[in-house]
């Protein structure tokens, strides 16, 4: 950390490169290669988006500076000129700056991922020593030097160490967890090696290779970690990316390293932060969470009132985390309740209520406006009586009187909304119609729909998220911003219930009363197994023949009689709709609607079992019993009979014979027999007719 390297700046004379080994180096990737913030990022790079009235890249550079980094390469892709321009004018490029910065830019066509950028850096051979890799949308107060030293220390025992990645502990349900970046790590607790890495966002079940547990006697599975997007890399990381063109993201890299571990002997370690703050602004909900963290001073010293930038003045802090820059005008009876930051020269009108929000510079906010959980950037003009809750409003937006913005909206720069407009939840608006030549938006149909402005007097077009391949779930999650937090817990409970249900299914079915199940355990088990087979068979559309085989093998396993087989198979089919939906029959037409496709699917199975008169009688008996025990089902019985008769599963003779025999359960006389009466008479008539015809 000698002082001679801190001076000078962009020029990289040969001698300086030689000494690189001793300099603490960082690579800041000033692009997230995602469109999570679209349409806002169409005109402005993500790194320059303001977070509590300060561009995000400022926080990242500040974080690096605070942790003792001496030289930083800023790698820009999208809107590189803007970033270059910003940095040129900022304090970072001054000769007195203790950290030298070099900006590298690449056109977006040549660089579409983190992998591409690292390959490019490798090609330029700028880096020879260990370096810190960080994304420009990371806010942290971590001291990186000790972790870097820890990384070097580990190299003494493990030559193959390529990376120490930094994670922060954050339990499920915490706001700093990004739903998109949920992960599970398997680590070796004794040395901190990462053994397995999985992204879990779309998974319900997590699988881990058994081999891993065998090899390492002790493995910790961690679901409570959050990726900070900061890693300490050995120089070998760059050639590794160059060698594998399929490494696009960090996740690809880690998976690749772990898979090839045995061949290449490369290892990745994890570092868990204790007591310091780091977060990655990956999407809009995370932007919300990190802004709150900054306002509530979790990221100290990265707080609004210790802003070291010279271009933007400091905020002053008052009670309840209310920050104000100079020149803020508050009209009478306006309230800044708590966790609010207001930028310079902004005016807030009478009786306007602001809470848990950020308002940028030079904004004008009218009277009786309600702002809750909103992020309003610079030069925004909000007229009287607007209502904004959980929204992001970009630079230069004009909201005329009485505009109501739904939860989770993102209003792009320059949008003008006419008086009284109501924006539905989770809408993204932009000021210009979508461009056709844009790479991300290709579908012509969409353009036709989108090209119309949102409303007549507004300058606003609905932004449609381009359909990305295999990421529909991700975008869904992104849109969850602003919805009630209960969402998470609810879905979780559903899962729990599923689990409980599944558990119960394993043993016995209690929810659907299928009637006279034999007390004999064998038949019970047989029934459960048939039910399971049928359910799976229906869900996976297994062929009838295979199901018959399965049922037959169950029959032999539990030694049940043919009569029982006939009856139980029918009962199982009838109870399938309620088993699958976990709802009891309602007694309405819906029952039949649900049942029909199932019976249709199982026709081959039924034909296999119901071959003679006796088996048909058995099945009819089963049908009746099922009806006796499920009073709601009675209404569908006639339809079932008609359907099975129509499909030639049940013969006329069998149905008539069943009808003439007295029912086992006297109560059936009144209900079931009565409901099927019309069908029987129709059947009898039809028979007469046909016999007449044949005569």
């Amino acid at each position: 950390m000698s002082s001679n390297k801190t001076s000078k700046s962009m020029s990289k004379s040969g001698s300086e490169v030689l000494k690189q080994e001793d300099v603490v180096l960082a690579v800041l990737i000033a692009d997230s290669f995602s469109i999570r913030f679209a349409p806002v990022t169409d005109s402005k790079p993500k790194a320059l988006l303001p977070l509590v009235n300060r561009p995000m890249i400022d926080y990242a550079l500040e974080s690096l500076l605070l942790s003792g980094v001496q030289k930083t390469f800023v790698y820009c892709v999208a809107h590189a000129d803007q970033i270059r321009q910003y940095l040129k004018e900022s304090k970072w490029m001054r000769s007195v700056s203790p950290m030298s910065i070099e900006v590298i830019s690449q056109s977006p066509d040549d660089c579409r991922s983190l992998g591409d950028s690292l390959r490019d850096i490798d090609g330029k051979s700028l880096i020879r020593g260990d370096f810190i890799l960080m994304s420009a949308d990371v806010i942290s107060n971590v001291q990186l030097i000790p972790i870097l030293e820890e990384h070097r220390e580990k190299r003494k025992t493990d030559k193959g160490i390529v990376m120490t990645h930094i994670f922060k502990k954050s339990f499920p349900g915490h706001r700093s967890r990004s739903a998109e970046e949920e992960l599970v790590l398997a680590i070796n607790p004794t040395n901190g090696r990462i053994l397995n890495y999985q992204q879990t966002t779309n998974l319900k079940k997590l699988s881990f290779p058994l081999e891993m547990f065998k090899e390492h006697g002790l493995v910790d599975l961690r679901y409570d970690l959050v990726d900070t997007h900061i890693s300490i890399c050995s120089p070998v990381v760059l050639p590794l990316f160059s060698d594998n063109f399929d490494y696009q993201t960090w996740g690809d890299f880690v998976r690749g390293i772990l898979i090839n571990e045995e061949i290449l002997n490369n290892t990745i370690y994890y570092h868990q932060l204790e007591g310091s703050y780091a977060a990655h602004v990956s999407n809009v909900p995370m932007y919300d969470a990190v802004s709150k963290d900054v306002i509530q001073r979790w990221a100290f010293p990265l707080v609004p009132d210790l802003n070291r930038s010279e271009t933007t003045p400091r905020h002053t802090l008052s009670r309840h985390n209310v920050y104000k820059q100079p020149g803020v005008t508050l009209a009478k009876e306006s309230v800044l309740e708590r966790d609010v930051a207001v930028g310079e020269n902004s005016k807030i009108g009478e009786r306007t209520f602001v809470t848990q929000s950020v308002i940028g510079s030079r904004c004008t906010i009218g009277n009786d406006v309600y702002i809750n959980n909103a992020y309003i950037w610079d030069d925004v003009n909000i007229k009287n009586n607007c209502h904004i809750e959980v929204a992001l409003i970009a630079d230069g937006v004009v909201l005329n009187e009485g505009v109501k913005i739904g939860r989770g909206c993102v209003i792009g720069p320059g949008v003008v909304l006419a008086a009284g407009t109501k924006i539905p939840d989770n809408t993204r608006l932009m000021a210009h119609p979508p461009k056709c030549d844009n790479d991300f938006e290709t579908s012509d149909e969409e353009d036709d729909k989108v090209a119309k402005p949102f409303s007549a007097d507004s300058v606003a077009y609905v932004y449609q998220r381009p359909v990305e391949e295999d990421s529909d779930a991700e975008s869904l999650i992104d849109e969850l911003w602003g919805l009630d937090i209960d969402e998470d817990s609810e879905s979780e409970e559903d899962e729990d219930e599923d689990e409980a249900d599944n558990d119960e299914d394993e043993e016995h079915e209690e929810e659907v009363d299928v009637g006279d199940l034999p007390e004999d355990m064998n038949a019970r088990s047989f029934y459960n197994e048939v039910l399971e087979s049928l359910q799976r068979g229906y869900e996976e559309k297994i062929k009838g023949d295979n199901l018959v085989l399965e049922i037959n093998s169950s029959k032999y396993a539990y030694n049940v009689t043919m009569k029982e087989v006939n009856m139980l198979v029918i009962k199982a089919m009838l109870s399938l709709p309620s088993v699958m939906t976990k709802k009891a029959a309602t007694g309405t037409n819906e029952d039949w609607v649900a049942l029909r496709p199932i019976l249709q699917h199982f026709l081959p199975v039924m034909r296999n079992y119901l071959k003679n008169n006796q088996s048909m009688l058995d099945s009819l008996e089963a049908l009746e019993e099922f009806g006796v025990h499920n009073s709601h089902f009675v209404k569908s019985i006639c339809k079932v009979l008609h359907f099975l008769y129509g499909e030639d599963v049940l013969s006329e003779d069998a149905i008539l014979e069943w009808y003439t025999n007295p029912p086992n359960d006297p109560s059936a006389l009144k209900t079931i027999r009565k409901t099927v009466e019309p069908f029987i008479t129709w059947l009898e008539e039809a028979e007469e007719e046909s016999s007449e015809e044949s005569d």
Binding site: F171, P172, G173, H174, V184, A186, P189, T200, L203, K204, K205, L206, S207, F208, P209, L210, E211, F213, K214, H216, G217, L218, V219, D220, L221, R222, Y223, D224, E492, E493, E495, D496, E497, E499, A500, D503, E504, E507, H508, E509, E510, D513, V514, G515, D516, L517, E519, M521, R524, H629, S631
Partner: protein, 456 residues
């Protein structure tokens, strides 16, 4: 009386059949004391005054005599299984269900362990655990010992035990054998489980001591649910899984009387597990009034609001080994000799007076006779044995009334009751059950009665 104790001593010793055809497993000697003595002693040390012992009826008298023979004060309440019938541990528990009035400690007779039991009970009490199991971080040296008898590829049974890092909750329990037999390459865990327990430590090198403290209601549940036969293999994994279910008990109570009474719900053999839980409401109330929580990081109540809870006590130190296989049985003999004085202070063993060379880590029955010129190392010799001149015994387990003639060398052997070895034999890693004639040389063989061989 807070806890009762049950010793499961009806095990067949299926992994050491060469030894168990003469004596039942629970009576095999470890350092000249029947195996079950160690369990009884451990319970006595833990303060139990009475214990229920489940054995096969033909051994009743022998087992009943043990306390008086070896100076134990504990009272035995013996429950017998019919001769030659195999009962699993859960079956055995079902057999003695009427004698169980409280929470119960269930141990297997083959456990030798000096981990203080009060730690396990404390854990059980503190958390009102449904089942608490004892695990020990098994000592690695056990794995690598020569085993007498034919060479077999012996695999130590391992479990994958998932423990919550914050609380000693058992999150999952799978035996490796199960996983490999089903040809699964992967272990899968539900994400909802990970949400409740975001930090799981998966340990593959723990030794399950087969020592469980079980709540009374669980006993009732096992007693009713006849499909269970084994505690370890079936009941425990089942309960561990059931921890995560939602209790729908209240709903059921309201609905049942009105709903159509059906055969299914009346079927008592399959009563829902939740209906066995007693005092849940009271416990829930206590939990809701208390500010205490067992975990950090989310806003759920203590124990994640689970009413069924399984805990594991993991002993970091202390000796714990089960004689459930031949190699473990031999290892136990060696280990217990070494630790005898620390494990059982005030019970010094007095070797018989002789001029023979006897190493320090040997135990020799008082009534055995050693001739002057024999040398004995790392071995146990039972009662009434007669050892001739120039006999060299290393690493052997010799049971009662064994005769060894002169100039014989024995290494790593097990000699069963009443066997005898004639002059000048050289046996290595053998199991001997009858007379071995002069000048016999064998390695890794089972030398048992000819008539028994015919039986097979």
């Amino acid at each position: 009386m807070e806890y009762q104790a049950v010793i499961m001593a009806a095990g067949r010793g299926s992994r050491m059949t060469d030894l168990t055809h003469a004596r039942p497993k629970c009576l095999l000697p470890i350092c000249n004391r029947p195996m079950i003595w160690f369990s009884l002693k451990m319970l006595e040390n833990a303060g139990f005054e009475e214990v229920i012992v489940v054995i096969h009826e033909q051994f009743r008298a022998e087992v009943a005599a043990i306390p008086s023979k070896y100076g134990l004060n504990i009272k035995l309440d013996i429950a017998c299984l019919p001769k030659n019938e195999d009962f699993g541990t859960a079956d055995s528990l079902r057999l003695v269900k009427d004698r169980i009035k409280t929470d119960v400690l269930v141990i297997s007779c083959d456990l030798v362990c000096d981990i203080p039991l009060h730690n396990v009970f404390d854990l059980h009490r503190t958390h009102q655990s449904s089942v608490t199991a004892l695990f020990s971080q098994s000592s690695p040296e056990v794995m690598s010992t020569a085993v007498p008898g034919p060479k077999t590829k012996f695999k130590q049974e391992r479990d994958l035990v998932g423990l919550d890092l914050q609380t000693p909750r058992l999150v999952f329990l799978v035996s490796e054998a199960d996983l490999t037999s089903e040809n699964e390459e992967e272990l899968s865990i539900r994400k909802s489980v990970m949400k409740h327990f975001p930090q799981i430590s998966v340990q593959g090198n723990l030794l399950d001591a087969h020592l469980y403290v079980i709540k009374k209601w669980v006993c009732d549940y096992i007693a009713e649910n006849r499909s269970f036969t084994m505690l370890k293999g079936e009941v425990l994994p089942h309960l561990v899984r059931k921890q995560f279910i939602k209790i729908q008990r209240k709903k059921n109570e309201k609905e049942l009387p009105n709903a159509d009474v059906s055969v299914v719900s009346l079927n008592t053999t399959n009563r829902d597990i939740c209906s066995f839980l007693v005092d849940v409401e009271e416990e829930e109330k206590i939990r809701s009034y208390s500010v205490w929580n067992d975990h950090r990081g989310d806003l759920r109540g203590p124990y994640q609001d689970h009413n069924i809870r399984c805990f594991a006590y993991v002993a970091k130190e202390g000796f714990c080994l089960r004689a459930n296989s031949l190699s473990n049985y031999c290892e136990l003999n060696r280990q217990v000799i070494k630790r005898w004085n620390t494990m059982f202070p005030n019970m010094e063993i007095t070797p018989p007076v002789s001029k023979a060379q006897v190493g320090t880590d040997c135990i020799i029955g008082e009534t055995s006779q050693l001739s002057d010129k024999c040398s004995i190392k790392h071995s146990v010799i039972g009662q009434g044995c007669n050892i001739g001149e120039k006999v060299r015994i290393t690493n052997c387990i010799i049971m009662d009334n064994v005769t060894i003639m002169k100039e014989t060398t024995l290494q790593g052997c097990i000699l069963m009751d009443n066997s005898s070895i004639e002059n000048s034999c050289d046996l290595k890693d053998c199991i001997v059950g009858h007379t071995v004639h002069s000048n016999c040389k064998s390695t890794n063989e089972v030398l048992v009665d000819a008539d028994r061989l015919l039986e097979i």
